[in-house]
Symmetry: C2
Subunit: 148 residues, 2 copies
DNA sequence: TTCTTATTGCGACCGAGTCGCAACACGCGC
DNA sequence: GCGCGTGTTGCGACTCGGTCGCAATAAGAA
């Protein structure tokens, strides 16, 4: 008999467990939302989705959990060029960094992985003696469909 | 007899004039603050400094003027990794883009100009058929003095 | 099962940014 | 110089993202 979707411990949940971080109902709900997201979500969207799993999840718990995941380096925080208001968007951090391109006309977000980006970061670490923890490259402009 | 500092029309003021944009007292004050800034300022710092020139400048006028300058492509808006709260920082846009590095320990902001960054943007425009209007690369980590 | 301690929900709060409106002032045409 | 139309301003109220203190609760180690 298969467990309900939200009960399958996802990777995020395991990564927190490995670090000896206490697991709770609301936390499980929020993690599952982030883990199964198919697009970039902001805090209020995460809250809304988490509530479909656990009715009682509170706004501040969402923010506290996002803070925890950020501190643990498990998610990245994005601005996406503030296409809609001033809030932030979140995504799981996996593998190598990617560039976010936001179309200022249609709002589409596309991602791009580039070796040049990696060299740029290496160059920065070398030339500036700077130890990079997070790197965020966001670009605003017109996507292929919208440019003319 | 030299004019008082704030009366010398700066480049920003001229660029707005060229575009037929009306010049006013508060606007002059705000422009001069941005023009003579030696570090990245946020909206409330700009307001405070502008008020030392023109007592009556209002908060919303600062935001409206920043919006104007953004739309005209004369300033860039930065997050600087949200080192202090959620606000934004502003700087004049001149010449080529540069990378902002924010030290998460001491808060120092350093800037770095890189040809690799330029190639990366070119690559993006070419490979993704994306027309770049603004590009923002921000890095958080430890500066040479703070890393260990 | 108990006990400690981290986490939660709640409500009040804060600061950044926006908006509608009436008063004002820039600068063009005379 | 002088008036006039329109863009700009100050003001105050508001929205929204995010934070905090606190008492109640629940994890999970012993």
């Amino acid at each position: 008999m298969p467990l309900p979707q939200t009960q399958i411990p996802g990777r995020l949940q395991m990564q927190l467990a490995e670090r000896g971080i206490r697991m709770t109902g609301p936390r499980r709900a929020i993690l599952s939302v982030i883990e199964t997201a198919t697009k970039h979500l902001d805090a209020s969207q995460i809250l809304r989705k988490a509530r479909t799993v656990d009715e009682s999840v509170d706004r501040s718990t969402v923010y506290r959990t996002l803070g925890l995941l950020k501190r643990q380096g498990l998610i990245d925080e994005l601005d996406l060029m503030h296409l809609n208001g001033e809030g932030h968007y979140y995504e799981r951090k996996l593998g190598r960094d990617h560039i976010h391109m936001a179309c200022l006309r249609c709002g589409k977000i596309s991602e791009f992985v580039s070796r040049t980006f990696e060299s740029l970061k290496n160059q920065l670490e070398r030339d500036c003696h700077f130890h990079i923890l997070v790197a965020r490259l966001e670009v605003g402009g017109y996507c292929s469909a919208c440019r003319r």
